[in-house]
Symmetry: C2
Subunit: 317 residues, 2 copies
């Protein structure tokens, strides 16, 4: 099944308590497409924009991972979008030091002709009007439209975001954003209310990411609680959420189906990819994984969360 | 297997965004013993202190649940310990408005003669010197000593707490307390380091409670990630942590064993009991449960967290 991803491509400055890196390859479309590439059965297409400073090593990486970059516009003499972030000691919180939109300021997504009928569409975290512009360029409704957003759009562009939500079947969002959007302290209530904001019909999928606490999947009337992979050391969490989304959608594209069982496994594959992402700087943790490494962590997550009701308890009733 | 519980008995004032209740039955030993009573095969013994204002309905409740109260000292003309707490809108955070130690100020635990050889011992959240005084009154080492503590003892009585930890095989602690005690942002690292502070030998059990995010069990070299029960409404979280501990130790006492599989199930039963605790005020949610209700939520938690590796993925390796 074909998969199209719209989002940012970036050259970031990342500061962690352990190291600082400049010109780190980043951006939502970068992480999503790299993660998805491990599963997707066809080429993954990316729509985005970069300056002509976007480095050859990035193009090489996309090529190696079989990612179709024909939808990435290159602005001559433009500078690529850049985010400068600093992580706190606990690695769970971070400050944005500076955001330079650069070529992203005038970005108008253009979907290449050979990608106007994707089976799966990911609308990475960009302005919700632009997300809808992508949908409008398609020849038909994708099987699944997966949406990401952030606090900036929730507080400043809510009406537009709600319109994009009504065109989407799936939303991946972190816990603080879910609470901000729904204004209810319970994540269970928030997940239910977010489902009601999506396009009508089935499936209606909401995934609430909780960082070190795992993720909650709301699929129609079902709820699935996924554990986090127990990492002792987090090296750089940048892009972990996007990587999660890439693993999630890539697995669904591979399956060509979006049943509840598929979606549960997709959450686990997303968790696996995100765990590899956090263990190295920038995209380095997800540039060259083997399927053995991926399946190994899938199994580890299953072992970590498996328990059974013993027979004695049943007899005692 | 016999089970002895030491802790507080209280008449609390609880304010939530929805209601206020005075003279609410509370205290760590109260919640622990009520929860444990659903599983424990023998009478559960409690050591603690109350004033003569401790109400008849509380004694009745203990009697109904088969709890041995002969170790509860009654101070004539004394007032029972009282905590006044106020929950914030999100129900995850609370302020202590007032703590009146009353008869608890001069409490010296006295273990009755018929309880000096318990198989399982729970040291509820009291001053760590007092916790050790209980151990010193025993005729033999219990099969398992389960410890609780709080930020007040961690910051103000660390050396004494560390001595009590070295006499314990199991610790139940919440995530913020674990980080406070270990001073490391990773709960995985914190869990490992807490295990190393316990008595030598096997098992070394640490359970980190994460509220709405479930719990992590560290059992020797194993880690188990337990989901939270997805409650849409939390009515009163007071005592949920103690109730968790009671379900946990009660199940182990019933089994008479502390294997890893037992400990995993014990975490799930603790989670089940805690979910019932939160759904009503004070002890009301855990006063009269049926084993059917308990097993029903155990099954729900299993369904909520079960996933499988599909065969297609294995073949694709």
């Amino acid at each position: 099944m074909s998969l199209l991803i719209v989002g940012s491509l970036a050259l970031d400055i990342i500061e962690t308590p352990f190291a600082t890196r400049e010109l780190a390859l980043g951006g939502s479309a970068t992480f999503i497409s790299l993660a998805a590439s491990y599963f997707a059965p066809e080429k993954v297409g990316v729509v985005g924009v970069v300056g002509d400073d976007f480095p050859e090593r990035a193009w090489d990486l996309f090529r190696q991972r079989g990612i179709d970059t024909s939808g990435i516009e290159i602005v001559p003499e433009g500078k690529t979008f850049s985010w400068h972030g600093r992580y706190h000691y606990d690695m769970n919180t971070r400050d944005t030091i500076e955001t330079n939109l650069n070529v992203f300021a005038d970005f108008k997504p253009h979907v290449p002709g050979h990608f106007t009928s994707p089976d799966f569409l990911v609308l990475g975290n960009i302005q919700p009007d632009l997300q809808r512009q992508v949908i409008e360029q398609l020849d038909r409704r994708p099987r699944l439209v997966l949406l990401d957003t952030m606090n900036f759009w929730i507080t400043g562009h809510r009406e537009s975001l709600e319109r994009t939500l009504r065109l989407s079947n799936a939303l991946v969002i972190n816990d603080s954003e879910a609470r901000l959007l729904i204004e209810h302290p319970s994540l269970i209530v928030a997940g239910r209310k977010l489902q009601a904001m999506l396009a009508e019909g089935s499936p209606r999928i909401v995934v609430i990411k909780k960082g070190e606490h795992g993720a909650l999947l709301f699929y129609d009337e079902f709820i699935f609680s996924a554990p986090a992979f127990p990492l002792e050391d987090i090296f750089d969490p940048t892009g972990a959420g996007d990587t999660f989304m890439g693993g999630f959608i890539g697995y669904l594209a591979r399956r060509g189906a979006v049943t509840y069982e598929d979606a549960k496994r997709a959450v686990i594959y997303g968790t696996v990819l995100a765990s590899y992402c956090c263990s190295k700087f920038s995209t380095e943790g997800i540039e060259n994984l083997s399927m053995e490494e991926i399946v190994e962590r899938f199994r580890a997550l299953r072992i970590l969360s498996t328990f059974d009701l013993e027979e004695e308890m049943l007899r005692s009733r």
